[in-house]
Amino acid sequence: MLDVAGKELRNTISDIGVLVFFVVVPLLYPLLYAYLYGGEVVREVPVVVVDECRSATSREFLRKSDATPDLKIISYCADMEEARNLMHRHKAYGLIHIPAEFESTLVSGRQATVNLYCDMSGLLYYKAMLSGCTMVSLEMNRDIQMTRLSGLSDREKEVMTMPVENEYVTMFNPANGFQSFIIPAILILLLQQTLVLGVSMLAGTEAERRRAGVLILGHEYDNPITVLGGKAFAYLLVYGFTATYVLCFVPWLFDMPQLWQMPTLVAFIVPFLLSSIFFAICISFFVRDRESCFLLFVFVSVPLIFMSGISWPTSNMPTFWKVLAQFFPSTHGINGFARINTSGALLQDVRMEALSLWILTGIYFMLSLFIYERMYRSDKMPGAEFVISMRARARRNIRVAVRDIREAGQEFIDTTQRIQNIRRYRRGKKKN
């Protein structure tokens, strides 16, 4: 088993294409993503203003909005047309409109309205605008109420305006940041997908070699479990390092929440890696040559990240997709790791996910063993080497023969054409 592991490791290290997947991509890709989302939240969203009221109160509202971290007023427009034009040219992503009767309504003690228009190309603009303006309006509302209640003490006024107070606590992701939310999912998915791509590339190479007459790795052993176990051990060895870097070092490097405890993380990541490895081996059997893994498996990452439920909540998915999602290690991996890393969950809190990963490990192990045994049996028969090399030679010969025949046919067509041309030429000459 160790012998096979050694050989597979050598295969891995000597193959730059595989090394790119196993080492280079996990090394650089997370850095790129962290760089991309490093801002965490959107600040100072540019907005334009149409102030038809032009009163002290409306100006106060605008001044305070501008002072919030969420919004930045880039222009005071004369009319809606001008403001709309700025939004259309993507100079601003929001519009605050204060109607002319704003102050008179307030003074008469009725409810005044501020209209907010928001660009919906990104939900974060909406969020910034909503939270910025809500903050300002709550503050101003309280001030207005205070001035209206005369003859009471300050404390009484406060109680009167806000009989029950409330506070908001965002647990585990205190900045409500985009990075802390998406990066853990991307890291886990990255591990699974690079494994799938790398292992498929190795399998593709083996398939190409087998067509050229080389027997599969480890055909000399009696038991296919030895070979399968050896390969898995080799990948696990490589990914022990890769996973440590990706899951422990990268979040630390970018100051993201890291609440995991070592025993929990290890106890969870081991079944995740194992199930991903056997999953990768399993689907690598479909790959016929080195490069097709790009076309077959890369795009899957996009649906997989949504299947995990990190973005669109699992509770609201159609049942069919929910069931399908269970078959991918990434689904459980992302949910488990996000909670271990970001919410400090312990093993008992993620036991369902860990259990699912062990079950997947079992399923994919049995499945790959089954396929492997069939492939292995044909290479294990006496004289297999001879048969395979003969088959490869026959394939080569047929290819050469087909090419020869095609060339001969072409030559024949060309010659007839030439003869006809000559005849036509002579006939033309005779007429003249």
Binding site: D15, I16, V20, L32, Y37, G39, V42, F61, H90, L106, G109, Q111, A112, T113, N115, L116, C118, M120, S121, G122, L123, L124, Y126, C133, T134, N141, M160, T161, P163, V164, E165, N166, Y168, V169, M171, F172, N173, S180, F181, T205, E208, R290, E291, F294, L295, V298, F299, W312, P313, S315, N316, W321, A338, S343, A345, D349, M352, Q410, D414, Q417
Partner: protein, 390 residues
Amino acid sequence: MSGSKQGFWAIAIREVLRMKSRPLYGLSMIFAPLFCFLFFTTLMGEGLPQSLPAGVVDEDNTAVSRSILRNLDSYQQTEIIKQYANFSEAREALQKNEIYGFFYIPKGTQEMASSQQQPKISIYTNSTYLIPASLLYRDMKTMAVMASAAVGREVLYAKGANLDQAMGFLQPIQMDMRPLGNPWLNYNIYLTNTLLPAVLSLMILLVTCFSIHTELKDGTAREWMSMANDSVFKAVSAKLFPQTMVFTLMALIYLILLYGLLGFPHNNGFWPMFLAAELLIMASQGFAVFMVSAIPSLRWSLSLCTLWGVLSIPISGFSFPVMGMPPALQALSYMFPVRHYFLIYVDQALHGIPMVYSAWYYVALIVIASLPLIDIHMLRKAAYEYSYMP
């Protein structure tokens, strides 16, 4: 040489046969996009998530606290699935992902409210799951403010105010939020409009790169070039033509799915978006040819195209705005076809403004599509001299 074996159409027919001979092409050009189209539109079929599971810790257990809970449960997006005995039980449920958030009503809330001591109720959400947490927060915050207002309103009614006066006092300034183009805050509209073309663009990059390189790898490149009379431009355009047709069909399918069947906003009609999709296809092909010509190694150009295709999803700026990214990446975003497509979609489908405003994005797509003009001559050289190195 016979005429039938040469020229644009001969190469195009040859390409169709090549595509038919390997299931890989069918899988990546037809199955993969269709799967994604179906997946994303059905996954988020609800539009805006409904009945998100939330919890409650009611240590007060009085008439006031119960009325708050009853009101909260009546919100469409929130569903109280369980009451927890204490704070740590609720926190554990949060960590187990049973709920996305909970309300905490401490002991003595009613007592304090009636003796005018300003009690405090708290809202906790698990922001590891950002979207459900934000939605829950919106409901819970409104609920908390309403609960407070309800108490204040009763006092004002008792003093003889009518509803208008009471609201004028409780909330003098009111916000009227008008989300442009997507008033329902529909996630399906918001995400699929960018994700579907992005996946298509990814597949185009990969397939274009792969199909040109297999010519080099299998040693059929010379035959291919000679069929085009040694004109590399003709060879490439004829080869890619059948693929362009297949991808156009795919684009039509998703456009009809989004704007026809699902009725998503397309305020300027079908044609501006169709033009954008067609240019997106050509720009992706152009970019891939540019890469292949510049880097005559299958693995590296495929890797780069993969990187480009996958990165185009975050860098298009639909989830996290480009203006929040580092300046270097902001500049780089112009090199991604999907980024321009996204901007066109915002203008033409979502906002429905005159096409003049998006003219530059259309031009940018054309420019990316003509990038190969710079380096395509290098591909010709590679076709004659290349030998495959695994």
